[in-house]
């Protein structure tokens, strides 16, 4: 560790470090705006043509005690010359508003050994001896690391512009970062204007003044700058987080009702939707509970206006019975589960991929339906139309599994070219031909045309009881067998329409890493690095989890070993109590073993944060099959 006050004399020519990518973190106590600073930094970097991936650092409470490790709130922004697909391994540069929140990141191993740390300078010499001591203790703990600390009089500088530095440090920090990374100030001003367009213009002026103050301070005091060359995209791009993408995707799919109940980390999608949905003829209905939310969506869908509900793990559990009802009545319905850590209340703000089996098999009885998982922010947007179309075409339930990493992370992607074909059609209320039955199952496809209330001649009573083609309740063996068979058959037919997944890397080799959901970027980066050091590794990423995409067994057989990488719990095979017989495996791993009868292994972790490519790389090294080529 080196500890130096900021150089006092202005440096005429700071050193310029040119890199392909760099990872920045900004951490503060909640309410000090580090998240806002990080978001704007990420967005301006995207606007300038850098690859970007941001991850929120969120405490569980709204206002936890300040200056404690558990109060760390902020953002990690990884920027690169090429597209960035994950949050990387460690931060290279950190802006910390106090040493305690920095300690939190240090203890998590989130900081690179040689990280540069710009830290508020008022704590070391604070009037409160407890604070000075805490500072000293923290510095001692940092001692083993070789960070470069630069003390910054953030508060002092901010006080020249505003009275309450807690409400402005973030813009000062943004100014410093803008100078260090040569961000376009004009673009930042535009983003600040967007942020405060609903508030007083005075706030805009104040924020811009703080921004410029931060820029100037960095210009006058820092001896380095960092250049991550940007390549302006030739295609129009947009930048947003996964929940915003889900919301826009829902609108673009033509759905006009989102029925929800507040739950983290799903709710921000509804916030976003609530703001704009009515312009599109849509409604966000905040129901009295999770069960009512899916009930309202189901009612609307049955009445011909396909709707969706959005939730997270605990809410998915509560919706279970209704999912069965939608399956039984063959009512099209889209359910979005933005996964968080479980079981129970678990880790409400943190990422996990723990709901896969619950999503597929969570319903009592046989309840076949579709489960799909977007892997990027772009896919969050696109998958909503896919989900709505499948739900309507197959009269089925579609569960979309996103997660906290996609929900709050921000990534630029090509602006989607939406068309009228994406939108749901208004219900056709034409009379139903005589003799047409409400479940006129086509034995070739298992599907039956949907009849909607309002259609003369189509009247029937949908029921969650076992029923025949007329929707007449029937308890006889043949009626129940046939209903189950038809509801299953349409899924079989659907599966045959899917394409086999593409293998990333060589089609054969020693190890195939299989993933799903938000881990795509981290897995592919790890695989790329493994291949660079000569390992024979490829990867494959699934979007459809139920039914599974075709051709998996054939692909798996071309590799000496297959291993899933997932953010859910599995037993460590080296655990003294764990044997091959009792080992509980990752959720996708179970599925693939059952489906393919291939001895698929898994490497999974539940750290409450996205997987780091470096961790996955290490797991790859350790998992290479015996005798693998080097």
């Amino acid at each position: 560790m080196t500890m130096a006050p900021a150089p006092s004399a202005p440096r005429p020519e700071p050193s310029l470090l040119r890199v392909d990518e760099h990872t920045v973190e900004i951490v503060s106590d909640p309410g000090e705006g580090a998240q806002k600073c990080g978001q704007i930094f990420g967005r301006v970097s995207a606007k300038m043509g850098n690859g970007v991936w941001t991850v929120e650092i969120i405490p569980a409470e709204i206002q936890p005690p300040a200056r404690t490790p558990s109060s760390a709130s902020g953002n990690r922004i990884r920027i690169g010359t090429k597209p960035i697909t994950n949050w990387g391994d460690a931060a290279n540069l950190v802006v910390a508003f106090n040493e305690q929140v920095l300690l939190h990141r240090h203890r998590l191993g989130a900081l690179a050994k040689d990280a540069v740390i710009l830290i508020e300078n008022r704590w070391a010499t604070h009037d409160d001896p407890d604070i000075c001591k805490a500072w000293g203790d923290a510095m001692e703990e940092f001692g083993t690391a070789s960070y470069r600390f630069i003390e910054v009089p953030m508060e002092e500088e901010c006080l020249t512009v505003i009275d309450n530095p807690r409400r402005g440090k973030n813009m000062f920090a943004l100014g410093m970062l803008a100078r260090i990374y040569s961000r376009d100030l004009e673009k930042i001003r535009g983003l600040i204007a967007q942020e405060f367009r609903k508030k007083a213009p005075a706030l805009y002026d104040q924020n811009v003044a703080l921004l410029e103050r931060g820029w100037r301070w960095a210009e006058e005091h820092l001896d380095f700058r960092i250049d991550v060359p940007a390549v302006e995209s030739t295609r129009p791009m947009v930048v947003m987080n996964g929940n915003q993408a889900l919301a826009i995707g829902a609108i673009a799919s033509g759905m006009e009702l989102c029925a929800m109940y507040p739950i983290t980390p799903a709710t921000s999608a509804s916030h976003f939707l609530s703001d704009i949905f009515d312009k599109f003829g849509g409604v966000v209905h905040q129901a009295e509970d999770e069960i009512a939310a899916i009930g309202v969506a189901l009612g609307s869908s049955f009445a011909g206006k396909v709707a969706f509900t959005i939730t997270s793990g605990p809410g998915l559990a509560l919706k279970t019975e209704f999912i069965g009802l939608a399956v039984m009545t063959e009512t099209p319905l889209v359910i979005v589960d933005v996964q968080r850590g479980g079981p129970s209340t678990g880790l409400p703000t943190k990422v996990e991929q723990g709901d896969l089996l619950a999503a597929i098999y969570g319903q009592p009885g046989d309840a076949p339906h579709v489960v799909l998982a977007p892997a990027t922010m772009e896919e969050c947007l696109l998958c909503m139309t896919t989900a709505r179309r499948i739900a309507e075409a197959f009269r089925c339930v579609v569960i979309v599994l996103s997660d906290a990493n996609l929900a709050t992370g921000v990534q630029p992607f090509p602006r989607p070219e939406m068309s009228e074909a994406w939108l749901a059609q208004p219900p056709d209320l034409a009379p139903v031909r005589e003799g047409v039955r409400p479940y006129d199952w086509d034995p070739q496809r298992g599907i039956s045309p949907r009849v909607v209330p309002g259609q003369p001649g189509g009247m029937f009573t949908a029921t969650g009881l076992s029923h025949d083609e007329w929707s007449h309740v029937g308890y006889t063996p043949d009626v129940h067998e046939r209903g189950c068979q038809m509801r299953s058959r349409k899924l079989a037919v659907f599966q045959q329409m899917l394409k086999p997944p593409a293998v990333n890397g060589d089609p054969t080799g020693d190890l195939l890493v299989v993933g799903w959901g938000s881990t795509l970027g981290a897995i592919e980066e790890a695989v790329e690095r493994a291949r660079q050091v000569g390992l024979s590794v490829s990867s494959l990423h699934l979007r459809f989890l139920s039914p599974l995409e075709p051709g998996l067994k054939e692909i798996f057989q071309r590799f000496r070993k297959v291993m899933t990488v997932e953010i859910n719990y599995s037993d460590d095979p080296n655990d003294p109590f764990v044997t091959p017989e009792n080992r509980r495996r990752g959720q996708l791993c179970w599925l693939l073993r059952a489906q393919t009868l291939v001895d698929v292994d898994c490497w999974t972790r539940v750290p409450g944060e996205p997987l780091r490519p470096g961790q996955i790389l290490q797991a790859i090294h350790e998992s290479m099959p015996q005798g693998a080529s080097r």
Binding site: A46, K47, G49, S233, P236, M237, V238, V239, M240, Q244, I248, I251, A252, G254, E256, L257, D278, K279, F280, G281, V283, H285, A287, E288, I291, A292, A293, I294, G295, V296, A297, L298, G299, S300, S301, F302, A303, G304, K305, A307, E321, L325, P412, R415, E420, L423, P426, P427, P431, P453, G454, P456, M459, F460, T461, A462, T463, G464, L465, V473
Partner: protein, 318 residues
């Protein structure tokens, strides 16, 4: 129920002028026990549909689970026989996006007051324009005689064989206690004229019309209402021009109390148990906003949506 905000009606094909008859609403033979009060309720509902000339395709009956919830199967309108306690959210979703439909909800006492209690309370508050019938026989019948929230204290059942431990909840007082209560009435299956008149008043009310129908279960709870059936003096009718007026009953039921359904305080007082079975409209208020109207938004054409989406994406443009 008024037919306000029928945005989708214009999309429906013009149905030819035809007169609906009782047989247009009849379906499968009802499979309730002989002597079950549900038969009388079904007949009254069919009469109402005919009298109001509701097109079967524009009419939706939503139910939960229980004896009462078999109701939609015995009608030839559209029906949705869902899961236990959850009829109201389904119906709310239908009304929200298809306000052109006439929506009726049929629940039992376990459905409404126990497993679905949260939805009941909140449906009153949302105040969608629909009729909610609670067929209250004071017992879980379909699952074979378990204590329900409205079982009288001391009534033995299979789950409380030495008698119900708790006094029954009062669904009328409960409903009257919820913000936005709009129409609250009580009637009995053994007084078909009163039942019909109450259903009609409920249907014609604009808002959430909650009707508790005291319903005899010949299998398990004959004792609850049989005394009142035999002795009309146990019944008191609330009468008012804005409530239900049933001249046919004048000769049978002598106890009458004038009650203006606009008077909420008096309604709450009359709902308190005092040994009388009180029938009629406790409360009626059409001034509360109706949820699907509050949440109505202008429909957008596909091209309008795309233009707006483009503008939305501009905000995220790099």
């Amino acid at each position: 129920m008024s037919d306000a905000c029928c945005s989708l009606l214009s999309a429906a094909p013009e149905s030819e002028e035809r007169e609906w008859t009782l047989s247009d609403y009849e379906s499968a033979l009802a499979r309730w026990c002989p002597g079950c009060g549900d038969h009388a309720i079904l007949t009254a509902v069919q009469r109402l549909l005919e009298a109001e000339q509701l097109p079967p395709e524009q009419t939706m009956f939503v139910s939960g689970i229980g004896c009462a919830s078999r109701f939609p199967h015995y009608l030839s309108t559209y029906g949705f026989h869902g899961i236990h306690g959850r009829a109201l959210p389904i119906a709310t979703g239908m009304k929200l996006r298809r306000p052109d439909l006439n929506v009726f909800v049929v629940m039992g006492d376990g459905d409404c007051c126990s497993i679905g209690a949260a939805h009941w309370i909140h449906a009153i508050r949302y105040n969608p324009d629909m009729v909610a019938l609670m067929l209250d026989n004071g017992v879980y019948g379909l699952t074979k005689n378990q204590t329900s929230p409205t079982s009288p204290k001391g009534m033995p059942s299979n789950t409380q064989p030495r008698g119900a431990f708790l006094p029954p909840m009062n669904p009328i007082s409960t409903t009257l206690g919820v913000t936005n209560a709009s129409f609250v009435a009580q009637t009995g299956d053994w007084l078909p004229a009163h039942l019909y008149a109450t259903l009609q008043a409920a249907f014609r009310h604009h808002g959430f019309s909650f009707v508790r129908i005291l319903q005899r279960c010949p299998q398990y709870t004959t004792a609850i209402y049989d005394v009142a059936v035999r002795d009309p003096n146990l019944v008191e009718l609330m009468v008012h021009p804005d409530g239900v007026v049933v001249p046919e009953l004048d000769r049978i039921i002598k106890n009458k109390v004038p009650h203006d359904p606009a008077d909420l305080d008096e309604a709450r007082r009359l709902a308190e148990p005092d040994g009388k079975i009180r029938l009629g409209v406790f409360y009626r208020n059409e001034t509360h906003p109706v949820y699907e109207e509050t949440r109505a938004v202008p429909a957008r054409s596909a091209s309008e949506k795309l233009a707006l989406l483009g503008a939305e994406l501009d905000r995220y443009a790099v």
